[in-house]
Subunit: 137 residues, 3 copies
């Protein structure tokens, strides 16, 4: 088994942002030069997520409205007693999940026709890191 790891640094200019990182995942696969295997894409933070879905700005609007309904920004989280104000970001991160596995088959990311990989930031305006780790042969 060969393995190849890169770290991606993202500082979003807004507190909340969805960013398509499929090209970065493909770049790592190419650098790893794997024919069969997978890429683990995982945020290293507890206030952001990685997910796979559609590159469609209307959908992203729906996702933001939906997340705000299910895990709203509110002042009264117990987590805020630590001085933080990002309780909602932790819950959103758990809801959307912090990692995905992208299969590599025959030297290509084996995604469906509309599948793209996204980074979702729930507490931006600061430097965050993701790990993109390709493993296989």
């Amino acid at each position: 088994m060969t393995s190849y790891t890169e770290y991606l640094t993202i500082t979003t200019p807004a507190r909340y942002e969805i960013r398509d990182i499929t090209a970065e995942v493909e770049r790592v696969r190419r650098a790893a030069n794997l024919h069969e295997g997978f890429v683990l894409v995982s945020t290293m933070h507890i206030t952001s997520s990685i997910f796979v879905n559609d590159h469609e700005p209307g959908l992203w609007q729906d996702i933001w409205k939906w997340l705000e309904t299910l895990a709203p920004a509110r002042p009264d989280y117990a987590h805020h007693n630590t001085g933080e104000d990002n309780g909602d970001a932790h819950l959103k991160s758990i809801l959307v999940h912090h990692e995905v596995i992208v299969p590599i088959t025959d030297g290509k990311l084996d995604l469906g026709p509309w599948q793209q990989v996204f980074y979702a930031e729930f507490d931006g305006l600061r430097r965050k890191r993701l790990i993109i780790k390709a493993m296989g042969e």
Copy 2:
């Protein structure tokens, strides 16, 4: 590392359906002939999910009612401006997640006594594909 990949095609006769695909995952493990490793089971679509839980029809009813509460079918999603009508299916897919990893130990799928692997369709009546990819030794 050895790797073996199959694609499963599913066309559900209903828009919403939960289908037990554990036997298919086991079939791929057997074909891959792996002793140690894992099987990645991942939908290639953005309006369906893969999850692990219980084979119990009452529970599936509860899951449908629950998903409809948390991510309801509604006419007013921004995604529908593209001509689509499946905004709820994208949100349900993000909620339930699109992939699972099933460990292989000692030549067997290493699932707990009640764990089964399910495909959840949120926008059926058309041909969908899953990837089942076994990796290990």
Copy 3:
């Protein structure tokens, strides 16, 4: 590819509990003696979850309140017709997800500075098992 598997048994004294299992995951990585690869941490039950987030008791309070809002304990789940009373635990398990992949880089668990691995029990007071499986080289 080398692989090394341990099973962890947990019996929580309360029905609902969040437990930090990062030290157990690190112990398995050390026993596996891997330099590059990953650890799959997966509950073998359908009424508990594995997730990665922050070791902060205030946050755990928020998580419990939040889960009770999104997937409440209620008497009227269809699943209860089987004699069970844990319908909420199944839904909570699907929401939080049952597994995580922790990367291993350079002989260490490659987690972000605040990332810890947690077991979330939604139907405790009985013996449960997790699989912790390290794979790599």
